[in-house]
């Protein structure tokens, strides 16, 4: 079985009309298997879109080549490539008289005749794409009436109807709220599992990529690209190194990025989660360094009873307590009223 995608000694970049080619990244040697969700991440301007455009054949490579299921896309007729690779772009659709169904049905373009009439097989594929993406209620709606999340699902359904072994998505979760972001990623995971498609998505949602991707391609500012399971990239520090900036720190233990304030004070927190977890987050934001030492004078204990959380600490030998993090912070950091 041919690999879904092979990048061989691929150098990506631009060829301006005048002057020398501008290299963006490479040489890249990567492969990708069927049925996997691959997230392409990296800081802004590092060349994620260029890589996707090069794989999609929109932009020529400076050197090296791309192989999709063992075939070279730039040597292929565009109609044949359209049966191997489908894309979801960030382009807005400006035409208002298109129904969602029409857009999904357009995915069958590479298979229909000159007039674009859908035969039985085409109709089956369109119906299947609509069902898989859960947009049955939307198909009669005008594409401009849809919310961003709904429209994104319609565009994914269109790519699905195109029925290609490889799908590229350029920031499919941009401009979406959290529930929609998670829904899109869940949908993509479902597609890789149930249809054995190879899916590559570029994204800025690092935490989402860490959770959802089978594999991550991490592009760094020094033109390199690292590939690996998300957890491996975290453990070997690749992830932290790439994204750590002044004031932002990657917490390897929890897989999240933190705003780093200069630590001035130390504090220890005990108690059950999730109360203790969110208490630590709030304190860190205020510039506290969390330490594990109960004998410290700065110590907060978080308790819960019947889902009511309470915060207890000592100040100048007197017991203090609060029933919300907000009031605890006010009293503990001394920014609010002094008791």
């Amino acid at each position: 079985m041919e690999k879904a995608l092979i990048l061989y000694q691929l150098v990506i970049g631009y060829r301006p009309n005048k002057g020398v080619p501008v290299k963006v990244a490479g040489p890249i040697d990567l492969t990708m298997e069927d049925g996997r969700l691959n997230c392409l991440i990296g800081p802004n301007g590092v060349g994620k879109s260029t890589l996707l455009r090069t794989i999609a054949g929109i932009q020529p490579a400076l050197s090296g080549h791309v192989k999709i299921l063992g075939e070279l896309p730039d040597k292929m007729k565009s109609e044949k490539l359209a049966r191997l690779l489908s894309i979801v772009l960030t382009d807005r659709i400006g035409h208002g008289n298109l129904k969602a169904f029409d857009v999904v049905a357009m995915g069958r373009t590479p298979y229909t005749g000159w007039f674009g009439t859908l035969d039985k097989e085409d109709q089956k594929k369109v119906a299947w794409a609509i069902e898989m993406t859960g947009i049955t209620d939307l198909i009669d709606k005008n594409i401009l009436e849809l919310s961003d999340g709904e429209r994104q699902k319609v565009m994914i359904a269109r790519a699905l109807a195109q029925d290609t072994p490889l799908m590229l998505l350029d920031e499919p979760t941009a401009h979406l709220d959290l529930p929609n972001r998670i829904e899109i990623v869940r949908l993509l995971r479902k597609l890789t599992a149930e249809t054995n498609k190879a899916i590559i998505m570029s994204t800025h949602e690092l935490d989402l990529a860490l959770q959802a991707a089978d594999n991550i391609w991490l592009m760094t500012s020094d033109h390199a690209i690292y590939s690996g399971t998300p957890e491996d990239l975290v453990l070997n520090d690749t992830f932290g190194r790439t994204f750590t900036k002044k004031g932002i720190d990657f917490d390897k233990n929890q897989g999240i990025f933190r705003l780093v304030e200069p630590h001035q004070k130390v504090v220890s927190v005990t108690g059950g989660d999730p109360g203790a977890f969110w208490t630590k987050r709030a304190l860190e934001r205020q510039g506290f360094q969390i330490v594990v030492n109960e004998r410290q004078s700065n110590h907060i204990d978080v308790t819960s009873r019947n889902n009511h959380w309470q915060w207890n600490w000592m100040k100048d030998g007197i017991d203090q307590s609060a029933n919300s993090i907000e009031s605890m912070l006010q009293q503990f950091t001394g920014e609010g009223e002094e008791l």
Binding site: I93, N97, L98, W114
Partner: protein, 338 residues
């Protein structure tokens, strides 16, 4: 569909019956079906004068509407149309070159005397002028993604073209000038029986090519990147659209003069009627609505019951502009209705 054909047919016959001499409906039908009319002069009027003119109206309406539809899709711009983006101005330049250069020998009437060869000459000159402007605009559109800028540039190119023509006019003799000025008023009556087959052929070719291209036109609605990813050859599609729009707009301009607003108004009218952007539906409907609107304009231009014939160019602008305004107001926003 049946209703649309019926309306066009009724308007067509009405167009034949109205004019400086009023001919009853029934007589027109009699003449058209080949039987003899009660008055021999009516027969001559209908068959020799009014029939070519009515057929020209059908062809001009069809050609302009189809050219406008394709341009709106290609440019992703609801305001695109032969007259707005300077395509008609380009065609005028082509005609001016033919009419104003050759001296008296190449005047409009001289060209008519040349017969088919001369007809093709005007047609080719105006199509070439149209293609020149459209190609230029398209070239700029490759570098400019912003539609509004593109539109302004299109209007500017149109202005430059008009300026060149008027400088040319300044140095031309009065006789040549008069021919040209009459041509700019637009006239459906100028097409003679001998020229008609050329006009029919060009319009038919344009219509068929556009219809064949309808699948590609549909995918262009999602933008060129998506269209390419679905296996559409963008270069070929663009070239075909420019070619067909240019010959359609060029033919109409060459034969009937610069006719404004049909090209931009009809596609909007059709879209707001059908609420679809599917070219397989829009193309035949643009054909019918373009035909109907042009016939209505011609009927108005006759000023029924009088001896006056108004310039068709003025009537299409009078009818066409309110249509565009009405569509925008009705849909609140041209972009979403587009």
């Amino acid at each position: 569909m049946f209703l649309a054909i019926l309306i066009c047919l009724v308007l067509f016959i009405a167009d034949l019956s109205v004019g400086s001499v009023s001919i009853p409906f029934t007589e027109v039908i009699k003449i058209l079906t080949g039987s003899h009319s009660t008055e021999a002069t009516w027969e001559k009027i209908v068959l020799i004068i009014r029939l070519p003119k009515a057929i020209s109206a059908v062809l001009a309406g069809t050609a302009l509407a189809i050219a406008g539809l394709q341009m709106q899709t290609l440019f992703h711009n609801p305001l695109a149309g032969p007259s707005v983006l300077g395509i008609t101005a380009g065609a005028s330049l082509g005609v001016a070159v033919v009419m104003l250069t050759g001296g008296g020998a190449a005047s409009l009437y001289a060209i008519r005397e040349l017969g088919i060869g001369g007809t093709w000459l005007v047609m080719l000159a105006s199509s070439a002028g149209a293609a020149l402007v459209m190609g230029l605009i398209l070239l700029i559109s490759l570098r400019l993604k912003d539609n509004v800028s593109l539109l302004i540039i299109g209007i500017m190119i149109g202005n430059v073209t008009i300026a060149i023509v008027s400088i040319w006019q300044y140095f031309s003799s009065p006789e040549q000038l008069q021919d040209y000025l009459i041509w700019t008023f637009g006239s459906l009556g100028g097409v003679t029986g001998r020229q008609l087959p050329v006009f029919v052929t060009v319009t038919f070719i344009g219509l068929v090519l556009t219809f064949i291209n309808s699948k590609s036109l549909n995918t262009l609605l999602l933008g060129e990147n998506y269209a390419r990813s679905m296996g559409i050859n963008i270069f070929r599609t663009r070239t075909l659209i420019i070619f067909t729009s240019s010959i359609l707009a060029g033919a109409v301009t060459g034969f009937c003069g610069p006719i404004a607003f049909i090209g931009i108004a009809v596609p909007h009218l059709v879209r707001s009627m059908t609420r679809t952007s599917d070219h397989k539906v829009l193309i035949p409907l643009c054909w019918f609505v373009g035909t109907a609107l042009m016939l209505i304009c011609d009927l108005i231009a006759q000023v029924p019951g009088s001896q006056i014939v108004l310039p068709i160019n003025a009537i299409t602008a009078l009818v066409g502009s309110p249509v565009v305004v009405w569509v925008i107001i009705k849909n609140k926003n041209l972009k979403t209705a587009f």
